[in-house]
Amino acid sequence: MRAGDHRFNVWERRAIAAIFSCQSVAIAGPVRAAESRTSAPPDSRKDQTVAVLTSNEPQKTETSGLGLSAGIGSQYPYVGIQAAYYLQVPHSLFRITPYAGIGGAICTGAARADCVVGETLGAMVSWGHRHRILADAFYGPVLAYSLSFHGEDPKTQASSGIGLAGGYEYMAASGFFLRADLGVAYAFGPPIKRPKDRFAPTLTLIGIGYKFW
């Protein structure tokens, strides 16, 4: 979907104008985005100026497309990479972003214990243009433990579970983005842990990436 096909409602246009324009705007009616700066609507009044986008190309902040990132935290788990596909909701600042991440450094800190690799699948819903608030739901490793039977080096295992988090994402027009979120997760194991003891905080400390289109 091209940016030119996106139609902002009146509230969105006013918000955009307030954020990016220093000029007062009076909008007589629906204005098509991305119109040429060199021509004014035939029925525009000369004493009015209209805030228009400065480029004919749709911004990556408004398109559906693939983003790759690297980061630290539960989306990456816990130091890793991620592929996310932004599905832009037409005529809206909403988007749904399913993602898949893989990472290592799932460690417990126990002496002589190893670290393991994990994968995370999830989806974010975000609202905003460049500055966005997001809600994140995911399935992946949320708990790690190291076990030694008789004094040998402990083996680390991760327990998977589900998590919910809220956070923030910034995406520049160029497609560069960064994000962070914080929430709570519930592990499905290990069986020895009581259900009430399986809740754990979840944190994506930072994810930095680039949206290709």
Binding site: T108, A144, S148, F149, H150, G151, I162, P191
Partner: protein, 438 residues
């Protein structure tokens, strides 16, 4: 063989169903251990159910008490102080000390402290209770419930094994170590299985051979660092080597193979140390010539058949080239008779140890290895005679002859320092048992 399949988790749109399946672990055959306060009866009941299911039989509901560890240890020391050992026990210790198998001093408190420092909990057949020594660790954590399961297995064993069984299979010190190894080995086995399932580990995926090999190596080394190897043997050998044996049995033939170990126990600690390669090796104590005849001023104190474990410790303590467990090769030790004498007049002690090997060559090897030690030694065919005296004057030439030694150990099984170390129904769990860290 008990087995358990991992619950499979789906990540499709039925995430809730996957959650329920995973949380319930509905594919297991036995209930799994759960963290709970081991002082509560519901926790004890559930843990007993886990143990019984894994064993395929058994019930137990012993009282569980938690005591302050330091206070308990001190009470044991006080008890020993108030009930001093008999002269025979003291002289038995002095005789063992000549070979480095007991501390040279007669004060039992240090030995008692060393012993109980390594104990996390124990089941007493005399009181029927499980006692947990509280050293500050959480009583509702994973470590506590695993400890409880271990002791509940002992409680089940107590109901199943009769006193006749002990009378039949516990006639010598070496026999006692073997029996203790079976008892502790079974408890270690089911503790390990319960732990594996509780942490979502399939036992068939666990590298048990490597784990027990390392465990055995560490206990082998620790035994050579102990001040009282004779006392500490009941902690060093049974968990690592008995655990390895019963674990191997279980992997080979399930619970039936574990039961078979009790029906046909190993003949000696030599079979435990040697592993599968030594399973069929017989024990041969040189009883027919085991009792040395000494001059009349020497008074008999005790006769013991202390076996391969302590022989190997002794050898490494005095060898010019002590072995690690990695270096261990069966030295061909077949059996022994240790006799201790005293001279009332001078309060001297003499220890005469007759060791038998599979072949004369094996005896010669050990003879050569110990030649630089302080002992007086003599080799006769497959036998090696090692003599030590507190005054340093007694030699093998002082022995006037040899007569038949009793097949059973001579005294009442009391250990030199009164710890009752070979009391099978005081079944402790080592404080360094399995642990998990978050």
């Amino acid at each position: 063989m008990a087995s358990r399949k991992r619950a499979k988790r789906n990540i499709d749109s039925n995430a809730l169903l996957a959650f329920v399946v995973s949380a319930a672990a509905c594919s297991s055959e036995c209930p799994t251990l759960e963290e709970c306060d081991i002082r509560s009866t519901s926790c004890q009941r559930h843990t007993a159910d886990v143990a019984a299911c894994l064993r395929g039989r058994g019930t137990a509901d012993p009282p569980v008490i938690v005591v302050d560890a330091e206070a308990f240890v001190q009470s044991q020391v006080d008890d020993a102080t108030n009930n001093p050992p008999t002269q025979d026990s003291i002289d038995l210790g002095r005789g063992l000390a000549l070979f480095g198998l007991a501390p040279p001093e007669t004060d039992p408190s240090a030995t008692i402290r060393e012993y109980w420092t390594n104990v996390a909990a124990f089941f007493s057949g005399q009181t029927g209770k499980v006692t947990v020594l509280d050293r500050g660790a959480p009583l509702d954590g994973a470590g506590a419930v695993r400890l409880l399961l271990h002791e509940l297995v002992h409680a089940m064993q107590h109901r199943e094994l009769s006193n006749d069984y002990y009378d039949q299979h516990e006639t010598t010190y070496d026999d006692s170590l073997v029996l203790t190894s079976l008892i502790e080995g079974e408890a270690v086995l089911y503790q390990d299985l319960a732990t594996a399932f509780a942490y979502d580990r399939d036992p068939s995926d666990v590298e048990w051979d490597d784990i027990f090999r390392g465990f055995e190596e560490r206990q082998w080394d620790a035994a050579r660092q102990d001040d009282a190897p004779y006392e500490m043997a009941s902690l060093r050998l049974p968990y690592a080597f008995g655990g390895a044996l019963l674990n191997w049995n279980w992997r080979s033939g399930g619970n039936d193979a574990v039961r078979a170990a009790f029906t046909h126990p190993p003949a000696s600690t030599r079979q435990l140390i040697g592993g599968t390669a030594s399973r069929g090796v017989a024990r041969e104590n040189p009883n027919e010539v085991g009792n040395p005849v000494l001059p009349s001023e020497f008074e008999h104190v005790a006769t013991r058949h202390i076996g391969a474990w302590l022989f190997d410790v002794f050898r490494d303590l005095w060898s010019s080239a002590p072995r690690t467990f990695r270096d261990f090769a069966d030295p061909g030790f077949a059996g022994d008779v240790l006799t201790i004498f005293r001279t009332p007049a001078s309060r001297g002690i003499v220890s005469v140890w007759r060791l038998r090997f599979d072949t004369p060559a094996k005896a010669s090897e050990v003879f050569a290895d110990l030649r630089t030690s302080k002992f007086s030694m003599d080799r006769r065919d497959r036998d090696l005679i090692v003599v030590a005296g507190s005054d340093g004057q007694f030699t093998t030439t002082s022995i006037e002859g040899w007569t038949t030694a009793p097949e059973q150990d001579s005294t009442d099984q009391t250990s030199p320092n009164g710890t009752g170390a070979i009391a099978p129904w005081s079944c402790p769990t080592m404080a360094s048992a399995a642990h998990a860290a978050r």
